[in-house]
Subunit: 698 residues, 2 copies
């Protein structure tokens, strides 16, 4: 390890004062001009990036960056040799007599060094470094190996459920994908932002994938993306269309057990890996919402996934196979993924991971966790969160999602008794997984501020942080993000943190409290349309399928007397959810259909409780407005007004939600609003006539 | 007086249950089937109507209706013979031995009998009759002789500032006016409603008058209206266009001193009176807002008014000459009516009355009274109120106007020392007036419920009641109206009365508190447009002329340091208004331009006070929603939902007002909203883009 160190010294230039347009994200170092001594034991693009980062942001002792295999003698407390993640790093102050006192960042990999540098800078930016650094030491190792963004970016440059402008990866080019120097610059900035929070993979196209994705020009384009992102420790992945052999390859079938089909895929994999040796693998949405899949040929999801896994295996690639499948039949949609995948448990190759959305329906403001997490035991699973706010206010609304994700990750599945949380059934600790992973549907677009809403950046940030360490507290993550994005002033951080931590529950309150779900308008999923009726539409795409409101009550009976979806959960959850008196309020109408005058625990009627929840949501948002207005002195004008304006929209639309839902349900409850609930400001018919302008959608 | 009485006996039929569409106004008798004995000493259409009314609504002792000259021996307390109004009536229980015990309603006139009958019924409907009627006696005499509605109805059937459908008098007929039996029925219902509150005159066309009004077909049409309304004690009047001799008569001029012009008018008057012997006279808007007038020929308002008065005099007609005149010059618009008319004091004929709007500008939510009321001493004056809510929310908003009118009527002009209220300078008591009158711009249209908003009916009602007795309390009038229109349940009456009594101040609060005025949008006068700029527009038609908001403050300096409009008021008002520390808060920015940080009496800044007022207005309306919702059990579904829906709109638009004004002014104040003020829900630019749909305007 005693290699020759070489020293770099730099004079920092003052950061140009630029308009606070949010483009810098949470990477807003604001340091004085100064020298910093940095030594490295290795030269690589990644190490260079780490050095540059320190030059931009570090203010303190000299730093040495050391890439080295771990000391074999290192053992954990229980005597076992630690299986250290290649991304793990240690930051420690070196006090040895012969050396200049300095901070050493060490890792097995270049990427680990980069993560360590960002971690050191984060500690500094958030004021978490001790005044006396003499004995400082911190080690970090990520929980999940693969921390991946899923871009639902279409090859024509639009983004499905994207609310921050067009795709950063794709332009609307008729013939074949093109890119400019500006694109490469943007991709590098994107890579840097991801590296700063430990995200190490990206799926660059929509799960609703075009076969065209596997054509040569598109693979070439992915290669260019990969080249830019590689120094930031990021692998690229693509979503594939299961019919590609037929649609693109001209084969007569795409049957996964067909020899020509297998051959086609093998050739395609070889082609990709020739260009991109560290290519990550495939993400597959199959036999879901009209997309092709193995079932089209009488094969199972396992047949399809394994065939793809086999062609990727020699190259080290993985298949992330989505469990988001449901049919329009009599069965409860919430049960179908479980019913589909449980019989296949144990049949998947070791480089297949089943990618499961947090809830059994579809990224609603609140769902109980998907029971698949507590069920599959011989199949690798990973969680899919949605960072883009498809159902939580798009980029119009401030909604910090980390508490929702944490709620899910910490949910106890009771798979192996108490304490088998979702975090622990996906991290390989409960059942061994060769591959562990976590995915988040990205909220990134070409908007200057990346995410449309400054506060939506916090969700990108928090996803990365939780993917690295799912045991972090969402409150701490919020504070980190605030301090880096805005300032470290205590009053500001505390007040903004209180807004953020409250914000997801507010959205639940004014959109879908007490377990209600999918009251959204057809297509846009922004505003309320509990009344939505589309002639000929699939029943399970209509809100009434979910709320089942009528004069006799409201809610979806998934108890043992209803669809018995509760039976998919382990005990004691199954009984707890099944029994209306023990079912948590937040899942009440998810699991039960109850009369309007049902008495809640606190004695009020269900109708009254519903009204109070909706109204509370509005009041919560109005409070954010007041709090934010009081923080003007801490924020630059541009970002202050940006957030102020967004909050105005949110307060307005929260009222829209509250009024539209309460007026709609009141037709059935026939009960008056409680006197302390603010009255609707429009009539139901007027709300029904609201047409949502969807122009912000790319 | 001992004429032969004849007895009428009737069997009442149960009132058909009809949908509560509001068409019955406050005349909703709800009595059991029964006989009632009614004797009369005279036969006339008016007496027949009085009898019919008793048959429909009276439940009690027999009634005799006695038309008779007053007993000459009747004297008032101070010994003078009372000058009893012909409309005066007495209701008393007759207990004489030889007669059957009964209630006698007596008056000098048939109309007086009808008013007495309606009064008796009103007392019954509102529960004000004593249980023991043995010694009951009440006498009433109206304060003003002429109690007139001004219809701003155009001959094409539209209504200027009408928000309840098209004109009840005019259809859109190319050639000449037509009418149907339905029209006659509607006019009779209109006459009955007016008679029930003592309104005895109507001007059937807009003050922005067409010369066509004086053509034969239109006079014929007015004759038909007069024939229908006459039995209800109502006279008809018309608005004339001063250029009629030229425009209609083909004369080379309309100069009032021209002999041919005078001759033309005399002939026209003769023509009208030949058809309508009790025709009331002319209402004239001259040299105002582009309309022709005597000044076009170098003559004065007196020249013009007197010429018309001379031709009407032989027939007993009067001229109501409007003081609503202002020019677009450097002078303060608020001062101009005074400046124009004061030099003419004493020059008007005794059948001319100067019709003065309550405030010096134009029917704003709040204005100080017009100083002309405290100034003209040798000229007859009358007050013009606006019943239609041009500036107070159209027919969308619940705004009970009686408190505003009472505020004006009870304003002390100090014309002859303390106590010379506006009521007393227009009722002929302070300075003798041969004619006394009061006018209200009608809010009536062809909407089924007459006024667009059920609660707008209360303003029609209250205008009539105040015109009869300007000393009535607006609260008592509200209670009367509620009891007759809805029900007499105490809780309901009290709660609705509290809404009504609060409602005008709420409008002031959320539209234009602290003396602000005319922040309205160009043309429609519904929503806020303090920012309004129309290239080339008259300065005094733009909000900035009135609010004068800039970084140095807000308000119109009409103090002695400014336009000195305060000098048009008698002392002590002049000094009180002039001195910022004694000027009432409600007129503060009417008379003063003050810095944003001006300290109010309660210590808060002007900006803060303004914010609190606007926000309070919104809260007031929201409270009406809650209160109204709690009253559902007392109201039929149709009217309950009607009012509920209107209140929703009002709450919505109150927020529009508050936010738009505060965001606009905040650009200049550069001060934050107080923390207890609800935040705007849209940005200023969004508010600026709101286009008001004006389709309800006829």
């Amino acid at each position: 390890m005693r290699k020759a160190f070489f020293t770099l010294a730099f004079l920092f230039s003052v950061l140009c004062a630029k308009a606070e347009d949010g483009h810098s994200l949470w990477l807003r170092y604001n340091q004085d001009v100064r020298h910093v001594d940095i030594t490295v034991n290795r030269d690589s693009r990644t190490i260079n990036l780490a050095v540059e980062e320190l030059q931009k942001g570090w203010k303190g002792m000299p730093v040495s960056l050391v890439v080295a295999k771990p000391n074999k003698k290192q053992k954990s407390k229980n005597g076992k040799v630690q299986q250290l993640s290649p991304d793990a790093f240690t930051i420690e102050t070196v006090n040895k007599a012969k050396q200049e006192k300095h901070i050493k960042i060490s890792s097995q990999t270049d990427a680990g060094i980069l993560y360590g540098v960002f971690h050191l800078l984060r500690l500094q930016q958030t004021g978490k470094l001790p005044a006396d650094m003499s004995w400082f030491k911190v080690s970090e190792s990520p929980v999940y190996q693969h921390r991946i963004l899923n871009h639902w970016d279409n090859l024509d440059g639009t983004v499905e459920r994207g609310y921050a402008g067009h795709s950063i990866f794709w332009h609307d080019n008729e013939a074949e994908p093109t890119f400019t120097d500006d694109d490469a610059k943007l991709w590098a900035e994107y890579g840097r932002a991801n590296a700063s929070v430990g995200i190490n993979g990206t799926v660059v196209n929509n799960v609703n994938a075009s076969p065209k994705m596997l054509s040569k020009p598109y693979i070439d384009h992915v290669c260019k993306i990969a080249d830019v992102l590689r120094p930031y420790g990021m692998k690229v992945y693509i979503s594939i269309n299961f019919s590609s052999p037929k649609e693109l390859g001209g084969l007569p079938t795409s049957d996964p057990l067909n020899a020509d089909v297998k051959k086609w895929w093998k050739k395609k994999a070889d082609e990709i890996y020739k260009l991109i040796p560290d290519f990550g693998g495939f993400l597959v949405k199959a036999n879901s919402e009209g997309l092709p899949g193995p079932q089209d040929f009488g094969r199972t999801h396992a047949d399809g996934a394994n065939m793809l896994a086999d062609v990727l295996k020699p190259h080290g690639g993985i298949v992330m196979w989505r469990a988001f499948v449901y049919k329009s039949d009599d069965s409860d949609r919430a049960k179908q993924a479980y019913q589909e995948f449980m019989p296949l448990d144990g049949q998947f190759r070791d480089n297949v991971i089943i990618q499961i959305k947090n809830g059994p329906i579809d990224f609603q403001p609140r769902e109980p966790f998907s029971p698949l997490f507590g069920a599959l035991k011989k199949t690798q699973t990973m969680i899919e969160f949605q960072i883009t706010q498809e159902y939580l206010g798009h980029s119009f609304q401030l909604c910090y999602l980390a508490p929702m994700w944490q709620e899910c990750l910490m949910s106890d599945t009771y798979q192996k008794g108490e304490g088998t949380t979702i975090a622990r059934v996906t991290d390989g600790k409960t059942y061994p997984q060769k591959y562990t992973a976590i995915a988040g549907v990205a909220n990134v677009g070409r908007d200057t501020n990346w995410c449309g809403h400054i506060f939506a950046q916090s969700n990108w940030y928090a996803f990365g942080r939780l993917a690295w360490n799912c045991n972090l507290d969402s409150k701490d993550i919020a504070e980190e993000w605030i301090a880096q994005t805005f300032c470290t002033d205590k009053e500001f951080v505390q007040k903004v943190e209180s807004i953020m931590m409250d914000s997801r529950e507010a959205v639940v309150n004014y959109m879908m409290p007490l377990g209600l779900h999918h009251l959204f308008a057809w297509t846009h999923h922004y505003g309320p349309e509990p009344w939505c009726e589309i002639p000929g539409a699939r029943a399970d795409w209509l809100p009434s399928y979910y709320h089942k409101a009528s004069e006799d009550g409201i809610g979806f009976d998934r108890s043992s007397k209803g669809t018995n979806a509760v039976s998919q959960y382990h005990e004691p959850l199954s009984t707890q959810f099944d029994n209306v008196s023990t079912c948590p309020d937040e899942y009440l109408l998810w699991f039960h259909h109850l009369p309007w005058d049902y008495k809640m625990q606190n004695g009020e009627t269900l109708w009254s409780a519903l009204c109070h929840k909706y109204d509370k949501g509005v009041k919560q948002v109005r409070n954010y407005q007041v709090v934010w207005d009081g923080l003007e002195k801490y924020v630059d004008t541009d970002r202050f007004k940006h957030v102020q304006s967004k909050l105005r929209r949110q307060a307005h639309d929260a009222v829209w939600w509250r009024d539209a839902c309460l007026l709609y349900f009141q037709q059935y409850s026939k009960m008056p609003l409680p006197s302390d609930v603010e009255r609707p400001v429009k009539d139901l018919d007027e709300y029904k006539q609201i047409k949502f302008r969807w122009s912000h959608h790319n």
